[in-house]
């Protein structure tokens, strides 16, 4: 019998999370802050960055979240140290999941949280340093539960997503509140992208 529900890497990072802040965030002076998630949905993530010359020199994070969220953010926090903010911004959740030795499909959405908080923090830093919208490119949040933006959906589209199911597979959009609002908006975007890129919807 496997001794643990998830991979050993997940177990390691869950029991020994790296760069987690056990104290109040005021104890960690930082240059950038990103908070995402919703307690109503059962998870929240805070990312605090120290940045010098666009390089992430140090990171701390806090979460109200499940084991997968804790482990994936721990892995993420190790990955981004020493990274240029632009590279950090484009880290894909799938890469983290791979580093963790995989996650069950129904836990993937938990791993997206850290990534979202990181982007928010970087956006925060850019705004503070007078470079608003460098990476953000005026993206709007489509799925408020998971913080999926139109940019995320567009990227998914460019990689071949042509249906709601494809969007879900790529981003886990719509697996939160179940209200279906994000689905309506996402399908409108799908239509829009088909126009922009001149392709037919499958």
């Amino acid at each position: 019998m496997p001794e643990w529900l998830y991979s050993d890497t997940v177990k390691d990072h869950f029991t020994n999370p790296r760069n987690v802040l056990m104290e109040d965030e005021s104890t960690y002076p930082h240059d950038a802050r990103g908070l995402t998630g919703n307690l109503i949905c059962g998870d929240q993530m805070l990312m605090l960055l120290r940045i010098k010359d666009d390089i992430i020199t140090d990171v701390r994070w806090k979460t109200y979240g499940c084991a997968s969220a804790i482990a994936s953010t721990s892995v993420l926090s190790e990955t981004i140290k020493g990274m240029n903010i632009k590279d950090a911004y484009t880290i894909k959740p799938e890469d983290l999941v791979e580093k963790m030795g995989g996650l069950p499909a129904n836990k993937i959405h938990c791993s997206v949280l850290g990534d979202k908080a990181l982007r928010k923090a970087i956006d925060d830093y850019l705004a503070k340093t007078g470079r608003p919208g460098l990476f953000k490119e005026a993206s709007t949040v489509i799925c408020t539960c998971l913080g999926i933006t139109d940019k995320d959906l567009e990227n998914a589209y460019l990689k071949g997503a042509r249906s709601w199911e494809d969007f879900q597979a790529a981003t886990k959009i719509g697996t939160g509140c179940g209200k279906g609002e994000c689905k309506t908006k996402a399908l409108e975007l799908l239509h829009e992208y088909a126009h922009i890129y001149g392709e037919k919807q499958a």
Partner: protein, 402 residues
């Protein structure tokens, strides 16, 4: 060193009682088909009827009113489907007259989904709200109960928070309105006294694996005269009400488990309650700012549901598991959806707290030392998750139980 394992998830399922298990191993020799007329068949049949009597005895019901099923879900479905037949025309559409069903918001999914299915067929279904302790709001019940009510189905004890309903009162009102009364007693039968005549119910659902019997076997009590139609058509087993070759070994094991549950009922109520209260008091004393969910007194002797504000349920669950403690959580993240437990939501716990709730359900085999170990192990786990939590000001909630 063998890692310490403390199983405190008895409401999910129980281990097989060793006496039941030993009996079942012997019973494997009984291979005759209980429907056959030769002596092997008759022998199997006789043993099966003994088991039926034992299961009936557990709830004060004559053996002939007990039908064996595959478990609680089948029993519950059988009741809903039988009454659907009573109230539908041949095309399946509800007839005029009694087409309304009353159940509660905190039932097991097999009842909620059976009710939802009937709703989709055109029946009217009321999902009664419950109060902060998980008790059915009788006023709301009276409001919807009428001469149109076909069936009232209210669980006797809740699996998540352990709250025990006033079934007799609910049944008396149902009977006065001319409706049929069903109770899902899967968590109650074998843990607290259950008597179908005292409760005045027409149908009662039970399950074998919740009382140290085997899985895949349950029973349905049907008061004589109450409508019943087979869910599974086939042979004439169970008087034609439930076809399929008898699950002999399962039934015999269940019979033994029911017999033991009846014999031990008093000791169970007494001993397990002591452990539960020890756990409750220990956690309240050692973990700041927690809430106990469920009714303070009308509660299963073995069930303790605790909300730990500021710490997330699945993390707590897995943190406990790494320390050898096997409990369960009403947190959604554990089950893959983000929806928190419908029971905790119905009692007004609120999503933030529901996501950080753990159910400890005790049973035979849990010792005083085990409880002490849990009381020692939980506080640092909670403290750690709270320290790393984004919820800086842990919400303060009044304790409903002290």
């Amino acid at each position: 060193m063998e890692k310490r394992r403390i199983y405190v998830d008895y409401n999910a399922t129980t281990p097989l009682n060793s006496e039941v298990k030993a009996g079942m191993i012997e019973d494997f020799e009984i291979y005759g088909n209980a429907s056959s007329m030769h002596s092997s068949g008759r022998h199997a049949h006789a043993r099966l009827e003994e088991a039926r009597k034992a299961v009936g005895d557990l709830i004060g019901a004559p053996a002939k009113t007990v039908i064996f099923t595959s478990g609680g879900s089948e029993s519950n479905n059988t009741v809903f489907q039988a009454l659907r037949r009573v109230a539908s025309d041949s095309s399946g559409k509800p007839l005029k007259g009694r087409t309304e069903i009353i159940t509660t918001a905190i039932e097991h999914p097999c009842v909620l989904n059976s009710a939802a299915y009937l709703k989709s067929l055109g029946f009217t279904v009321y999902f009664l709200p419950v109060d902060q302790y998980g008790k059915v709001k009788i006023d709301e019940y009276r409001k919807v109960l009428s001469e149109r009510t076909l069936l009232v189905s209210v669980m006797m004890a809740n699996n998540e928070i352990g709250t025990i309903q006033d079934i007799r009162e609910i049944a008396e009102l149902a009977k006065a309105a001319g409706a049929w009364m069903h109770t899902d007693a899967v968590q109650a039968a074998g843990k607290i006294p259950v008597n179908v005549d005292d409760l005045k119910v027409d149908y009662l659902t039970m399950s074998g694996h919740k009382i140290y019997g085997p899985k895949g076997i349950g029973a349905l009590y049907v008061r004589s005269g109450a409508p019943l139609f087979p869910l599974i058509h086939g042979g004439h087993q169970e008087d034609g009400f439930r076809a399929g070759t008898y699950n002999n070994i399962g039934i015999l094991g269940y019979g033994k488990a029911a017999e033991l549950a009846k014999k031990n009922l008093e000791a169970y109520g007494r001993d397990i309650r002591v452990l539960r209260n020890q756990l409750r008091d220990g956690l309240l004393a050692k973990v700041p700012n927690i809430t106990i969910n469920g009714h303070p007194t009308d509660v299963l002797p073995n069930t303790l549901n605790v909300s730990f504000p500021g710490a997330e349920g699945e993390s707590i669950l897995l943190g406990l598991d790494l320390n050898g403690i096997e409990a369960s959580t009403g947190s959604a993240c554990a089950s893959g959806s983000l929806e928190p437990s419908h029971v905790l939501m119905a009692v007004g716990v609120g999503p933030e707290l529901a996501h950080g709730s753990i159910r400890f359900s005790l049973g035979w085999g849990v010792t005083k030392e085990d409880i002490e170990y849990i009381i020692d192990t939980v506080p640092p786990i909670i403290a750690r998750f709270r320290a790393m939590s984004t919820v800086s000001s842990v919400p303060t909630v009044p304790s409903v139980q002290s």
